[in-house]
Symmetry: C2
Subunit: 388 residues, 2 copies
């Protein structure tokens, strides 16, 4: 049998389903009750008790001092970058291996992505390689880090916790501090993932979560900004709600701002979802075990598992093909998808997309290698929790 | 009795309620049924049958060939401006008398607002005054309109149909054509309003609707772009959904784009709401009649009514205080709000806000006058349709 057929058969064995999606939302809690309450009370829009509650619940769950909910992860990252001072013309270090939204959010601030290579152990930013790169291209003068080649300020670095696997944040914080670069985490995929017991998204000065439909917890569409800084949280709310000044009736706004609000209807869904996250996390760990077993005798593939000292949310199950078999990736994708088992490759490297091709970038050998070898497997918690 | 007390008493007579909001959503149709279906099927997020249906329903209702739903009106206007070619550094003509989002959307394209005075008869752009202003500041060279004073291209004009009262679009289209300026309607407030039977939002090359919680039809938060141009509609969808190229599995995106999607959960609410719009419009017309009667004997105030040849949706009921009594506005606002009857002034002129103070502007005597004299009155359809 071909590798593609073997893998298809193993995936099929784990999912035990003829047709299965990559990741589907799982509504087994009070979703309908909360949403019904919104409709019956008329509180569906931009203010409401579920917005406030979801912010409190997210702060409590992650241990961040403040959470500000927004329309989605992309808008959350844009605001988070603005909060730490990213301005038009700056450069922001982001992984070449990420979803396009990470780069778009940088551009929505008027800044430019500067691409960073990956680390095979975390799938996130390669910190040692970045240190070496900064040693070559960056200089710090009067507390400002500059790219000597482009002349631009390097204002921030955005670690992204790929598929829920945490970046080594203590090491990155140390490097960023040395270069006077702000740290903003793209924790879109890592709600429930921790490093030494501390939640991803609480290491950077601020961070972003996503509650898109494919995420571990969904609000339909939505996101949040986490920070321990009360002033930043207040400004996040201000910037994401048209910068209206409080007044009994006057419409006075004091800066260019956004409508990046999360409606109460969506926050209601989020509250119900977050109540169930422990069950989702358990299911995802159990699913990892099953995939591990299913692939244990195959020397050419490896299920990606959490690094020591970290706890992954296992949002998307990740298979790595051996480098020498990477050219079989598309055959494996075709076979699994053809057999109703939805699998996906990782993203095209952002540094290769037409609109980002000319941006600053370090060499990305690890990211290029990973991009050829990653296959995400069906990951819904329902695969363990069963159909309703 | 003071004017403030008299007005409070008359408003109270019409609303017949001790405590009443300016505008509340009215859920009397299939809202809960549709939203329940989303949750039970798991289709809450960025694709789904209600998204498609809401787009079809909006096109059918307005008569636009295409509708593309987005996260809200602000994002819709930004995309609409980009669609007609507005670029960083351009100027866009917008009314000084509008909600701040009109100006923010211009800035989100990297362009600059150029403020236009109002017309007392429509509350929208003063077309004759604008023609005179353009005669002074604008020149057209090789099909490009330029502001001679700033050197910037004047790329577009954004008429806004204030509180649902249509701008004289045929006259504006004629003026814009003369100056080679694109027309994008801010129809955030005017779903259901027509000019000669033709729906607002179908005159410009494209236009935007808002379904914010305070609008005549709500999705919690949401908006739409209308256009007759199939290519623009396709590009609106592309730009608002991360510019992903269609492919069985690859993540390839071909331009800097946005996550401005409307989740299916919110579109479900919109479908149910739009089914009821005729009832809402009837209720609002009836409410206008009641306010007209209630104020008929007061010489110093006038209820604003639709211009001949137009049909307003009467989204927000609007009282105009006589110029010589304009300084009583705040006393009227204090008295009505103090008595539980929520009223609101119109917006501060955008040209006076700190972030827009230095933008190009024509003289705005009419807008300044209107801004001192407008008071919006409680406008919910429930005031006619009754409590459930
Ligand atoms: C790594 C990453 N960054 C950013 C985003 C953007 O989040 P959203 O889709 O909520 O805008 C996502 C999710 O889609 C993501 O996976
Ligand atoms: C005139 C006008 N323009 C733009 C908007 C922005 O719409 P949204 O609040 O949906 O972003 C609104 C409504 O809030 C509006 O009234």
């Amino acid at each position: 049998m071909q590798l593609a057929e073997i893998i298809t058969e193993r995936v099929r064995r784990v999912t035990a389903t003829a047709k299965v999606a990559l990741h589907e939302p799982c509504f087994r809690g009070r979703e309908l009750a909360y949403v019904t309450e919104c409709i019956e009370t008329g509180w569906v829009s931009s203010v409401g008790s579920y917005v406030d509650r979801f912010e409190r619940d997210l702060a409590a769950y992650t241990g961040a001092k403040h959470a500000v909910v927004v329309s989605n992860g992309t808008s959350g990252l844009q605001i988070a970058l603005q909060l730490v001072g990213v301005e038009a013309g700056d450069e922001v270090l982001i992984p070449a291996l990420s979803f396009v939204a990470t780069a778009n959010a940088v551009r929505h601030c008027g800044a430019q992505p500067h691409f960073v290579d990956s680390d095979e152990a975390s799938l996130g930013i390669g910190i040692a390689a970045l240190a070496e790169h900064l040693g070559q291209v960056a200089e710090v003068l009067a507390g400002v880090c500059r790219n000597k080649r482009t002349g631009r300020r390097i204002a921030a670095v955005v670690p992204m916790h790929t598929f829920g696997h945490p970046v080594d944040m203590p090491a990155l914080l140390e490097l960023a501090a040395r270069y006077h670069i702000e740290v903003v985490e793209d924790a879109a995929e890592s709600l429930g993932s921790t490093i030494g017991g501390r939640h991803t998204g609480t290491f950077g000065r601020c961070s972003m979560l996503s509650f898109n439909g494919n995420k571990i917890v969904t609000t339909g569409g939505g996101g949040a900004i986490l920070t321990d800084d009360a002033a930043l949280a207040k400004r996040a709310k201000h910037l994401s709600t048209t910068a209206k000044m409080p007044h009994a009736w006057a419409f006075y706004h004091d800066e260019v701002a956004y409508n990046y609000r999360m409606p109460n209807l969506n926050a209601a869904l989020g509250c119900a979802q977050l109540e169930q996250i422990d069950g989702f996390l358990d299911a995802k760990r159990e699913l990892t075990q099953r995939y591990l077993e299913a692939f244990s005798d195959l020397p050419h593939v490896r299920l990606f598992t959490e690094r020591p000292g970290t706890r992954a949310n296992y949002w998307l199950q990740t298979l790595l093909i051996a480098p020498e078999l990477a050219e079989q990736r598309d055959a494996i994708l075709a076979a699994t998808n053809g057999a109703g088992q939805m699998t996906r490759p990782v993203w095209e490297l952002l540094s290769t997309l037409p609109m980002y091709r000319d941006c600053a970038s370090m060499a990305t050998p690890v990211a290029q290698d990973l991009a050829r070898r990653i296959i995400n497997l069906p990951s819904s918690p329902q695969l363990i929790m069963g159909a309703v």
